[in-house]
Symmetry: C2
Subunit: 255 residues, 2 copies
Amino acid sequence: MSGYSHSPPGYGYGYGHSYGSASPPGQPYGAPPQGQHQYDHKARAYGAPAKPHKNQAHGGGYPAPARSYGSLFAALVPSVFPPGTDPEIIACFQLADQDGSGFIDDKEMQRALSSYNQSFSLRTVHLLMYLFTHTNTRKIGPKEFTALFYSLQSWRGVFERFDRDRSGFIDANELRDALLSLGFAVSPVVLELLVYKFGKTGGKKRAIEYDNFIECCLTVKGLTEKFKEKDKAYTGMGTFTYEEFMLTVLPFLIA
Amino acid sequence: MSGYSHSPPGYGYGYGHSYGSASPPGQPYGAPPQGQHQYDHKARAYGAPAKPHKNQAHGGGYPAPARSYGSLFAALVPSVFPPGTDPEIIACFQLADQDGSGFIDDKEMQRALSSYNQSFSLRTVHLLMYLFTHTNTRKIGPKEFTALFYSLQSWRGVFERFDRDRSGFIDANELRDALLSLGFAVSPVVLELLVYKFGKTGGKKRAIEYDNFIECCLTVKGLTEKFKEKDKAYTGMGTFTYEEFMLTVLPFLIA
């Protein structure tokens, strides 16, 4: 294990706030920004730019986050394996990268992970690649692959720890504890929705298999990170423009 | 056609604002709410409630939106067909509702729509049901079914109008115009992402088939409505708590 060995549990989200502690009832959410444009109630549609042109959406007008939304399809920067990477991981990547381009694509990554007994659907692979490369190019380099691999290893350990009866499934309470051990505390309603979305009906109640657990972890981690970018002061509130909201949510939808 | 005939184009979103016109660079997003709790940088995870208990998440602490998040799995209120509903739609629904319960489930709805030459995957049917009933119960009553049916009819008309060469696909420019005619103006970056998510590579460029067009319309309509609930003053900015953000986004993920 290398410098990545400490990355998974907690992901650095050791801070917190009480959910359900926002503004008192009746108080409006978020003050309107200064200097906003006049809007025309009839002539334009929701979100309509006065004069849409390509650079506007890429160039901003709102402060750029750490990673610009314009880079959603940007080319990946070539990377190298971090010092101390497990030689087996390097061999695994190089076997997949047959043309030696320094990147592997979605299907190659699916095969590479399978050789480590980590079988995922292509949609899970796509979500993994998006969240570890922050682009939609569906290619991944050595550094990101290594980080992803160690995260998967850690999540697998968490899954096995909470799947106490070795059934291959975890239930709602076990999911809550597993997410908590990864640094994510979700409310009972969010937990219910996660189990509904990622679980299957097995026996009496819904439960979650390993691959769906990974997709669930990725979703909670990814959405929490996106929210955090909008809540740098840790107030528990995040403000989005319509554009930012759409660009935040759409990558999580799997078509 | 009944009272629903005017509902689709525009969906009442005739207002607008300029995207990219938010706060100047450097200005923080969203003022912190008053009276927030102290947080502990080490002891608790992101979003961790001080003392999680079941009623807290259901009962609020933040002002309830028009429809409470606690009702995500609530039972549907029985409904009736609106006066003037096309008798064929009533017959179609009643044929599907064989036990006369007043509701049809996801598979029954899929069959009912197929008999009108509107074939959709179960995932599209689930998204349709969620957005027209605002619950995850996967059952739908006469009133919501009628609204859904007329919307589909209208969207089909839009698709056929913009699929000028009758290829069964629309491209990015046609999608932009189609969404605009439905009252949704999306930026070039959002458009690119929609085509990437909902399109297929056919010939030289990505294009969108009818069923994915419907899923795309549902997604844009649904997300825009959710954003609007947080932007009642039409400022172009929406503020969410972490809990609200998660409960807004998760229902759009299709597991």
